[in-house]
Symmetry: C2
Amino acid sequence: MIARRTVLSLAAVSFSALVFASPACAQFAKPEDAVRYRQSVFVVMGAHMGRLGAMAQGKIPFDARAARHSAQVVETMARLPWEGLTPATESLESHAKPELFRNMDDVERLVEALNVETAKLPAAAGSLDTLRTQVGATGKACKACHDKYRQKI
Amino acid sequence: MIARRTVLSLAAVSFSALVFASPACAQFAKPEDAVRYRQSVFVVMGAHMGRLGAMAQGKIPFDARAARHSAQVVETMARLPWEGLTPATESLESHAKPELFRNMDDVERLVEALNVETAKLPAAAGSLDTLRTQVGATGKACKACHDKYRQKI
């Protein structure tokens, strides 16, 4: 049990290190580039979550191949935008509330919870029933962060 | 040889069908959404190609793990934006030259050539030498389409 906890803990550290610990200057020339990058990722993720949601709600026909494709895109996208949440971007207008940047530990926790759900999406895309359940769980994980740290602009 | 050609041909048809044959209305509510989607994909792809290019040119240290991550993102992104190139978007201001929409067969050919190169990127990211070669080949495939169909705005 201790060993298992250690592995999980190491995995969490490794994930956080990869996603959050990169200095902004190493990845983005300007804070504006970081905002543009993360917003672009959210546009792509949102488009494909929208397609999965439309299938889950019966607004478009279920198509396992298209669902799997969109699920894989969402899984990939959900790992990307967080490195764009650098302190240097706090003063720029965006959907990020100012308090986000003062609660990065909480944001990391919410991102990790999101990634647990998005990682299940591709396998869940095989049937409408499993897709519907997993789209719901993923949507909840999105909303948990949006409710606390996303604002309208 | 005939069998191999048939397989390749079927693969090409399948790829084109997936990428180009979806009616715009099925994927995007408005032409503006299609433009925003494809531009967002290009921002994400460009950010990660930029990182690979910086490693290839020695501007930042080679890091096999980071290179593989960026290579995988580029490979995924390079399959996405083309469905946003719908005829309904021709009248909207964007980097797409008007003649792009009258030469979709040629665009498909260039996209397929790009995807051949981006598919090789993740394996090539294992060493600086192979990465440098494959970033060069990928950049050429990007440029082949940009030279013909991309404009400044």
